[in-house]
């Protein structure tokens, strides 16, 4: 129901090169008032680059940007904000030392007499936005220590507070669980009804169809096609994105022995999780499910030794693991692909190949030295396996697109050939084609006898991969399903304890 004839904002023929990397060859999109427009494409297709042009962060090498039909040149993020464009970036970027409310209202703080900042009003307005989003987040706390999901919510609140005419959301849902996604969508519907134009980026196509009226596909930096969502379907989108059909695979024919490789008994860390016990056998894939904030990642980091737990024990192959020691965990064969790749998974300013080989230096050593050639070969092999898209393996990881950074973290840990692999949100921000590939790699690891613990907010992923599914709520293990008796409804029910499910 496009109620306006002319686009609020449009971009045509946009090019953006970073040295030899052609991030954008032909960027094209039009946003209409009251409509949500999805932008989809594989990792590295140029979506975030296009977003950054809207945001005034990148100046296109060529191309026309128009707002309300007039050609504009944004020379700073401020110029974009002043034209009524709000952007939720793929990577949340907050001020850790400032309060949540200040983060939302930076540069636009409400003022009282003598232009002083009106902190009370600022906090109240922040609280109002949070209640619109149906989350409880204390506006006066520091942003330091917020989880990724919480950070994402602050970013969303920031965009809402701008009263913008155009809201650009670069994978806002990647870190959110389905309940929070629903809330975001409800708010987005209200925004649409009030005439806001939304640009929505996601790798989850069901979300695209649920929220958006229009969808544009990009491939290799180029505009491919644009259509109304009710005139297209998932398959044709995927075909346009990857240039071929995706084969479906559903193999669950794996055998695993009953001997537990990883045993977790009564693990408790005050304030985060209580009395967590489970086992993972060699060759088994166990999923830890639940809402964001339920304590799943905390359990993972405690097992790996990044956090010290208060009580309980973790054993590998029957031997108890020293608590609070990541190096002990690594020596005993545990690998962890962390949730926050920027902070914990990557050295952003190091090269791509160094990041991939970092965990495997010992095995690459020959007579005590590592030849650059060996390292590059090794990294190149893994890049091919995970289809990492890069300009040059010597470039720093920070130049990769979000999804490709995630692949580097995965490659780093898979390359170590661990006995036990804990993966926290393995496919967050990863495109459809590669997602299937990552799933295949995880299944392959399991088949070769690795015990895998997967944490994922994406239920189809959990249902597809896991042999057993454990559900956490508010720091406790509340339900367990086998692969066969699990369903999305049952998992959501256990995770949220909505009345009708818990009654059954």
């Amino acid at each position: 129901m496009s109620n306006q004839f002319d686009p609020v904002i449009s971009l045509r023929g946009a090019k953006k090169y970073f040295g030899a990397v052609h991030a954008l060859e032909d960027g094209q999109i039009e946003l209409f008032s009251g409509e949500a427009h999805a932008l989809v494409g594989e990792n590295g297709a140029g979506k975030s680059t296009l977003v950054k042009i809207f945001a005034g962060l990148h100046r296109p090498d060529s191309g026309t940007l128009t707002v309300d039909g007039k050609v504009v040149h944004f020379d700073s993020p401020r110029a974009a904000i002043e034209s009524g464009i709000a952007v939720i970036y793929q990577e949340p970027t907050l001020f850790p030392d400032l309060t949540v409310a200040e983060n939302i209202f930076m540069e636009r703080q409400p003022q009282r007499s003598f232009k002083r900042i009106d902190f009370r009003r600022m906090n109240r307005e922040a609280r109002e936005i949070f209640s619109r989003l149906e989350v409880v987040l204390d506006p006066t706390r520091l942003a330091l220590g917020l989880s990724i999901a919480e950070q994402q919510i602050v970013e969303i609140a920031k965009a809402l507070s701008l009263d913008a005419r155009v809201i650009v959301m670069d994978e806002p849902t990647a870190a959110l669980s389905s309940v929070e996604v629903d809330r975001l969508f409800r708010v987005s519907e209200t925004l649409k009804a009030s005439g806001v134009a939304i640009l929505f980026i996601s790798h989850r196509l069901d979300e695209v169809f649920a929220l958006c009226e229009r969808v544009t596909v990009m491939r290799d930096g180029r505009f491919v096609t644009s259509s109304l969502t009710n005139e297209t379907d998932e398959n044709s989108l995927v075909r346009a994105m990857v240039g071929r059909d995706l084969e479906k695979r559903t193999d669950q024919l794996r055998q695993f022995d009953q001997r537990a490789l990883l045993e977790v008994e009564h693990l408790t860390l005050e304030g985060l999780f209580v009395d967590i016990s489970f086992t993972v056998a060699a060759g088994e894939i166990v999923a830890l499910s639940g809402l964001v904030g339920a304590g799943r990642s905390e359990v993972a980091t405690a097992i790996f030794g990044i956090r010290r737990y208060d009580h309980g024990r973790v054993s590998v192959d029957g031997k108890e693991l020293r608590r609070g020691s990541p190096s002990a965990a690594m020596t005993s064969g545990i690998g962890l692909v962390p949730e926050d790749r920027r902070l914990q998974g990557l050295v952003m300013e190091q090269s791509i190949s160094r990041n991939i080989s970092m965990g495997s230096l010992k095995s690459l050593k020959k007579n005590g030295v590592i030849r650059a050639f060996t390292e590059t070969r090794f990294a190149a092999d893994w890049s091919v396996k995970l289809q990492i898209k890069y300009g040059n393996l010597g470039n720093s990881v920070s130049t990769l697109s979000g999804g490709n950074q995630q692949k580097v973290v995965l490659a780093k840990w898979m390359a170590r050939s661990p006995k036990i692999l804990i993966v926290d949100e393995p496919t967050r921000g990863i495109d459809i084609g590669t997602k299937a590939e990552v799933h295949r790699l995880i299944l392959e690891l399991a088949r070769s006898g690795v015990a895998v613990l997967v944490i994922s907010s994406e239920l189809p992923e959990v249902l597809n991969l896991a042999d057993r599914i454990l559900v956490m709520r508010e720091g406790r293990l509340v339900a367990e399903f086998t692969h066969d008796d699990a369903s999305e409804e049952a998992i959501i029910g256990a995770a949220t304890l909505s009345s009708e499910v818990s009654a059954s």
Binding site: T93, P96, E102, E107, R116, R141, V292, L477, A490
Partner: protein, 356 residues
């Protein structure tokens, strides 16, 4: 489906449970803990004063208090400028040299023009500071040279200019008019007027940094320059201004210094930058930017000067003074780290109490 635990608590909010990310009251708790930081410094201060007075009662004589306060005034003033710079994740090491050259040039005016107005003398000192501050600011903010490098260089260059210009000359107190000397000598009881004035300036400055947008910008820049760029904070402009102000303040401090000491040669203010940076950090300004206040920094300066004076009164070697400053610095940084961890843990425990 096997339900391992059945919690009958009902979350009946429209469309699902609200997720309680943070317990209310947590922030008040955090702010109380961080207040504790300022009380902590005060505590150490009181201990030093009590011990010293017990051994040498003359420590609390009006004259000695006045000495301590004037010294503190100069350092606390410098710390105000330094705070603005450090909050935005930079550092200004040139302030000691700026103070030195400003002190000489401004007070030397009296030897050249006997009846010059005191206002002109102050303006000259502040102006000199401003010029050097602007140069630092241009190089750091627009030239994108790290501030450590820029101001370390200007520390030496400005001192070099000072030495070349002053040579063996000296300004002596007898050549200075009484109205200039009385800037620092007039007092209200044991409290010098100038200390009161500077204290007001520091409170106003601190209030500005906390309550005005451009002040918050400095905290934001120090907290994350990446995020600052994204929300459209004019980073270069703010950083530039902070250096310009720091320079001006150092210039002003130079004139006050000349008025107080009366005798000025080319060594005035040597090494002050390190005392000031120490005071700032001991006073709770994070050396990597983003938090702290000018009032805290001033309290830090007061602590360092009191310790300095009490060791002097007790006849302890100056070496110990430096050792203690170093120790305090380490303590301050360790305390910050420890407090941070403690607060994080407490917040967690509180949230668990709410959740269960």
């Amino acid at each position: 489906m096997t339900v391992l635990e059945n919690n009958s608590r009902d979350h009946s909010l429209s469309g699902g449970p609200a997720i309680d990310f943070a317990p209310s009251g947590a922030s008040r708790f955090t702010s109380i803990v961080f207040r504790a930081r300022e009380f902590g410094i005060f505590g150490i201060l009181v201990v030093f004063v009590l011990i010293t007075t017990a051994i040498k009662p003359r420590f609390l004589a009006a004259q000695n208090i006045k000495f301590i306060l004037i010294d503190t005034t100069i350092f606390a003033l410098l710390a105000l400028g330094e705070t603005m710079v450090v909050i935005s994740k930079n550092v200004d090491l040139s302030i000691g040299s700026i103070l030195g050259i400003s002190a000489f040039v401004s007070s030397n005016l009296y030897q050249q023009f006997h009846h010059i107005s005191i206002l002109l003398v102050f303006t000259t000192g502040i102006g000199i500071g401003l010029v050097f501050g602007l140069i630092n600011g241009v190089l750091v903010a627009f030239g994108r040279v790290p501030s450590l490098v820029v101001t370390l260089a200007s520390l030496y260059i400005i001192r070099g200019i000072d030495v070349l210009y002053v040579g063996g000359q000296q300004v002596v107190a007898s050549s200075l008019p009484s109205n200039f000397l009385s800037v620092t000598s007039s007092s209200l009881g044991p409290v010098p007027i100038i200390s009161i004035v500077v204290a007001i300036v520091i409170f106003v400055g601190s209030y500005y940094l906390k309550n005005y947008r451009s002040g918050r910008d400095l905290y934001a820049i120090g907290s994350s320059d990446l995020a600052a760029g994204l929300v459209g904070i004019p980073i270069a402009k703010r950083v530039f201004t902070s250096f310009a102000l720091s320079g001006m303040i150092a210039g002003l401090a130079g004139v006050i210094w000349a008025s107080y000491y009366g005798t000025v040669d080319s060594t005035a203010g040597t090494g002050y930058e390190f005392t000031v940076v120490t005071a700032v950090v001991v006073g709770g300004v994070a050396i990597f930017g983003g938090s702290g206040s000018a009032v805290g920094a001033a309290i830090g300066a007061l602590l360092l000067n009191t310790i300095n004076s009490s060791l002097y009164v007790l006849g302890v070697s100056a070496f110990w003074d430096q050792a203690i400053s170093g120790l305090l610095l380490i303590l301050a940084i360790a305390l910050d780290r420890g407090l941070g961890l403690y607060v994080a843990k407490s917040l967690r425990k509180r949230s668990s109490r709410v959740a269960s």
